[in-house]
């Protein structure tokens, strides 16, 4: 550090480097946590997270292809655009594969998502084998996820999509509560089950795609935050979804802060921080599930 920096420089750093980063981290945290909470409800499975539709793997493949093709990492319409397209395309494929005669059984959807996701993960590996060493470095950094180098331009494109999608998901709180009792049971009281699932899956795919396309794949926020909050505010989605929105934002902003500060002046990828917190929690859930894990 060289004395006190000029006020103009400080303003520039805060306004143009730090602030967009915090805004994106918060929005992505909101989006991932809300999507995770919604998907856990739709799948009636506590292990569901925003990755189950293959969205993250699709975005990842889009990103490594963009990097391999030499497209600018931070130019808005190249890498994030291709990652976004890859994410949505994957979600649509998974949904299409799992749908038959207008019905989408959640177990089929889950398996199709896992299958397509692992195929795409292999494809990512394949692209990386072909890639140049410098490119591989960039790919790995992207795949691990992070918020460095976010710009206001990215905020302007991604944040409204994420927040609008998350807000729309909140409108389905009652349907999610009733779906917890089972689809046949929800249909019995008049819930339009297939329509509700379709709307919610589309919103989750959109929110997750917008998030991962600007920040890379950040694991476990969508799994961890809804579960922590379920323990605190209970299973009612009318409270749980807003709590996840706020909690997800706070969690990722803090994790990003940790990523910048833990080994200063170097920076750990925020995906590493969230996974180091997330994996032990995931294992704890796994141990608990045998005793009957409610949603």
């Amino acid at each position: 550090m060289v004395g006190a920096p000029a006020p103009a420089l400080v303003r520039d750093i805060v306004w143009n480097l730090r602030l967009p980063r915090v805004v994106i981290a918060g929005a992505v945290g909101t989006g991932l946590a809300v999507a995770g909470c919604v998907l856990q409800g739709v799948f009636r499975n506590p292990m569901a997270d925003p990755g189950v539709l293959g969205v993250s793997a699709g975005a990842g493949l889009g990103a490594v292809i963009a990097i391999y093709a030499g497209l600018g990492v931070r130019s808005l319409w190249s890498l994030p655009g291709i990652a976004f397209a890859g994410a949505l395309l994957t979600a649509a494929t998974v949904y299409g594969l799992a749908t038959r005669a207008g019905r989408t059984p959640v177990l089929t959807l889950l398996l199709a998502g896992i299958a397509v996701g692992s195929l795409l993960t292999s494809a990512i590996g394949l692209v990386m084998i072909l890639a140049h060493e410098v490119q591989i470095q960039t790919m790995l950094l992207w795949l691990m996820g992070g918020f460095d180098g976010e710009t206001w331009q990215q905020v302007a494109v991604a944040v409204p999509v994420i927040l609008a999608g998350s807000a729309a998901s909140l409108l389905f709180a009652r349907e999610l509560n009733i779906l917890a009792t089972g689809e046949e049971s929800a249909r019995g009281v008049g819930v339009p089950v297939e329509w509700t699932k379709r709307a919610l899956l589309a919103l989750c795919a959109l929110v997750t795609a917008a998030g991962v396309s600007v920040s890379g794949t950040i694991g476990f926020v969508g799994l961890l935050v809804p579960h922590m909050l379920r323990l605190i505010v209970g299973p009612d989605h009318r409270g749980l979804l807003p709590a996840s929105a706020v909690g997800g934002a706070a969690f990722l902003i803090l994790a990003d802060l940790g990523a910048r500060l833990v080994i200063r002046p170097a920076e750990i990828s925020v995906g590493v921080i969230t996974s180091f917190l997330g994996v032990p929690f995931f294992l704890y859930l796994l141990r608990r599930q045998r005793g009957g894990m409610g949603l």
């Binding site: 009652r174 009792t181 046949e184 019995g188 008049g190 339009p192 089950v193 009612d236």
Partner: protein, 270 residues
Amino acid sequence: MSAEALRVAQGVWVRGLRLSAGGREILRGVDLEAAPGELVGLVGPNGAGKTTLLRALAGYLPADAGEVRVAGADPRRLRARNLGRLLAQVPQVATLDLDFSCLEVVLMGRYAHLRPLQRQEGPGDLAAARSALAAAGLREREADPVAVLSGGERQLLLLARALAQDASVLLLDEPTANLDLRHRLAALDLVRGSVALGMTAVAAVHDLELAARYCDRIVLLAGGTVLAAGRPEAVLTPAAIARAFGVTVSTFPDPMTGAIRLSVLGRAES
């Protein structure tokens, strides 16, 4: 209004229903009628088409041919929410290992009566849910999480949820399966109580003696067709039971209740 017209307008009315699933014809021309104030039991062996018929009544399965009317409407043509105001269902399976309270689960039955996006149920919804809980004998459990209820109590709770729905038609799929004696009677008494208030109820029932005692009329299904329909003592004859179930029985009136009782003698020659 003639009795026939009343059945079509308010009850359940099915004519010539054919329905296949997975390339197999499950219902081969089924007629069914249930009028307001009537509990109709669907009986028959496994695979006879009882559950499929109930699903068709709920508009969940498309018919190949024939007509289905529930409270005067074709359930396939109604929006789920509108159907939910006409038709309540007690599902065969529901997940109730949840942290929701009993009152919250019964309030879910009010879904079809809420405006879209309405956040909180109104006093009318709460009153309907509380009175349904009371009718099911679960008034004191209202604040308990549903996860702590016994199997019998859960079934009564699902019945209460269906009654809170304030529909004119009630469909039940095996409402007494896996229940002990006391809860079986409690569940069917609850259904009879609603039927006495003018509801139309159609229930798939495995236990023939229970069906004979509680149902006004019985429809005996086998192989996707109706073998017999009418008053229990007219339908549950040794000949019809032998044809439908492949067992030899002898029937007699219960000395205490007068309802049909069965003595199962063995499997019939096939």
